[in-house]
């Protein structure tokens, strides 16, 4: 661990958001009052579909967008009215936003130069960061002469050279190709482990969220749907929105009706026993559905529509009472020309949601 790592670790600050709102006018509210606390040194991924307000949230933390109401605290300091440079945040942008006319060295040193740091100290810091990111040999190149991954690294270097308390990422991997995205993801995770800066990472890619995050903040229309660890979000989604958003293919959501002792699908087949009456939604992950086997749930029949063989597994799409259910099965299962499938939904794997609000109802089906 070198000097830069230590300095950033020491500077890592918590972010507290209290009643934060953003509205361009009374009709267009992007973020209704929001309260959330991100711990110092934590890697938080803000995940949501486009237009959910995740970038706005990030830019408000950075100071690039005005807040319409509420407070933002970095550490113990209220920062919502401060200029970006006084907040101790650094940001990595989606398109890198490197200064095209400056060399890699000048790009990384620019913020230090603006801050009035002595030339020798500047060079020392930039060299240390460049070495850490494997950019030492490229310091004199212009951004135009670098590959996408290298540019990304320069953007990260430019951000961490200031030893910020908070590192902000705005969809930084979406411009890279699949292979590079994977490599950069690993590098980012490694970097965070080493420098331990409080990190807020905005993305719409669930894989990035699942692999990088300590905790994932899922936003929907500016509201927090769930804020929890990747594991908890995957296994205990707090709402239908989260259940559908996480997982590939996503969780199957089916409308059911309770008659006091059982839950029935639209076509009358029983999927679970529960002392419930009225309309509900149940969810089950594609990989939790058992085909042809014995499990602790009820057997239902579904018509096979099509299959996708993906090598590691196959995804079947079946028609169950009018809605399509996706099932992940081991590759090579002998079901090519069968039209009817015997499915079993293990009760322990079922998720129950309120039909009206879409919120999860943990425990209503018995122990999870």
């Amino acid at each position: 661990m070198n000097a830069i790592d230590t300095a950033i670790r020491a500077a890592a600050a918590s972010i507290t958001v209290k009643g934060l709102t953003k509205a361009y006018d009374p009709q267009t509210v992007v973020i209704p009052p929001m309260d959330v606390e991100l711990k110092a040194g934590e890697f938080t991924v803000v995940l949501g579909p486009s237009g959910c307000g995740k970038s706005t949230l990030l830019q408000m933390i950075a100071g690039l967008e005005r807040v319409s109401g509420g407070k933002i605290l970095i550490g113990a300091r209220e920062v919502q009215d401060l200029e970006p440079k006084h907040r101790g945040c650094a940001m990595v942008f989606q398109n890198y936003a490197l200064y095209p006319h400056m060399s890699v060295f000048e790009n990384m040193a620019y913020s230090l130069k603006v801050a009035g740091m002595a030339k020798a100290e500047r060079a020392e810091r930039v060299t240390a960061v460049a070495k850490m990111l494997g950019l030492a040999d490229y310091l004199h190149r212009k951004p135009g002469q670098l590959s996408g991954g290298q540019r990304q690294r320069v953007a990260i270097g430019r951000a961490i050279v200031r030893e910020p308390g908070v590192l902000l990422f705005d969809e930084p991997l979406s411009n890279l190709d699949a292979q590079l995205r994977h490599d950069m993801r690993v590098e980012l995770a490694d970097l965070h482990r080493r420098i331990g800066a409080t990190t807020v990472f905005v993305t719409h890619d669930q894989v990035e969220a699942m692999t990088l995050a300590d905790r994932i903040l899922i936003l929907n229309k500016g509201r927090i749907e769930q804020f929890d660890t990747p594991k908890a979000i995957y296994h205990h989604p707090a709402s239908v929105f989260v259940a559908k958003f996480i997982g590939a293919p996503p969780m199957n959501i089916l409308a059911v009706t309770g008659d006091g002792s059982t839950l029935r699908l639209a076509d009358g087949q029983v999927v679970a026993n529960a002392p419930l009456t009225g309309a509900y939604q149940i969810g089950i992950r594609p990989e939790d559905i058992v085909v042809d086997g014995k499990a602790d749930g009820h057997a239902v029949k579904a018509a096979l529509r099509f299959r996708e063989d993906l090598g590691s597994h196959s995804v079947l799409a079946a028609d169950l009472g009018g809605s399509i259910v996706r099932i992940a099965t081991p590759f090579g299962m002998d079901i090519a020309d069968r039209l009817e499938l015997d499915l079993n939904f293990p009760t322990s794997r079922l998720h129950l949601f309120d039909a009206a609000t879409g919120r999860a109802m943990p425990g209503a089906l018995g122990a999870h």
Partner: protein
């Protein structure tokens, strides 16, 4: 379309040849005339072949006419026009692109409108304003009735007067108000990633610092292109310098050149000397194009977008 028919090739070459004659013919005549003596012209009419009097004619331009001082005027006008246009265009485009101004769209539309209203169209009103730059204020005072009030209180209405006619400022200022440069810079700024401004803010650079450290170095080519274009247009301006300057010492070279023609009818103009003057006056823009043609092309490409 690529055709290989021989007959087509010949026809195409012929058309090209005619076009070249059309353009180069007058140029050739300019050069040959400039190298003949006035007597030769009086005897023979058009000069179809070059003579040996070119240096003599050039010397006469420098000794007998005001062209040298007028070229100096042209230089002052063209340079100040180019520099002022560059600065103004850069700043206005910066304001329009990078700041959230409610009426930025309207402002930009008005700036664009100036492209459709060159000095040649509004020459009379421009002359009126130039002859008294306070005339709009006077008119405003009259219309609003304030002047009547002032006349009652002080005994006399306000009539401010300041003429910029026959000054270098008066020659340049009306030409600066032209939207092409703003448009060119705006188009260029819009090709830059928008996050650049945000990145600079995160790095602690305010709007002024961003302008000097980031935007200005990036705009070098656009500056050069706009500079060449406006310099050339300033150098070749005819109508406005003709109207706005009244003494020969304030006129630009192009106007001076036209004034070399005798005022009275019947006299045969000293064409060899005038043509020699035309050659000299053309040298400056020619030099400019030769040195900066790379940027000229880029500028034309940019403004076409």
């Amino acid at each position: 379309m690529i055709e290989n028919a021989r007959s087509l090739n010949i026809v195409a070459s012929l058309i090209l040849l005619v076009g070249m004659l059309y353009i180069l013919g007058p140029l050739y005549l300019t050069l040959t005339t400039a190298s003949q003596s006035y007597e030769f012209l009086l005897r023979n009419g058009l000069a179809w072949y070059p003579g040996d009097q070119f240096l003599n004619n050039v010397a006469r331009i420098f000794t007998e006419t005001r062209i040298p001082i007028q070229m100096l005027n042209s230089l002052v006008v063209a340079f100040s026009l180019a520099i002022a246009t560059c600065i103004l265009s850069f700043l206005s485009a910066y304001a329009i692109v990078y700041f959230r101004i409610r009426w930025a769209g309207v402002a930009f539309a008005l700036i664009l409108a100036t492209i459709m209203l060159p000095v040649d169209i509004r020459v009379i009103t421009t002359y009126q304003v130039a002859s008294n730059v306070f005339s709009p204020i006077n008119a405003l005072l009259d219309v609003t009735g304030l002047n009547g009030l002032i006349a009652q209180v002080f005994g006399e209405p306000v009539q401010l007067e300041l003429s910029v006619l026959n000054t270098h400022f008066g020659l340049v200022a009306p030409l600066v108000a032209h939207g092409t440069g703003t448009f060119l810079f705006r188009q260029f700024f819009r090709t830059l990633p928008g996050d650049l401004f945000k990145a600079a803010r995160m790095d602690g650079a305010g709007p002024v610092r961003f302008m000097f450290d980031i935007l200005l170095p990036l705009s070098r080519t656009s500056f050069a292109a706009l500079f060449v274009l406006t310099f050339l247009s300033g150098w070749t301006q005819y109508l406005w310098p003709l109207v706005a300057s009244s003494t020969p010492d304030m006129q630009t070279a192009v106007v001076g050149l036209a004034r070399l023609l005798p005022d009275s009818d019947g006299e045969v103009p000293d064409f060899p000397m005038i043509m020699a003057g035309a050659v000299i006056v053309s040298l400056v823009p020619l030099l400019m194009i030769a040195l900066l043609q790379r940027y000229l092309v880029q500028g034309l490409v940019l403004s076409e977008k």
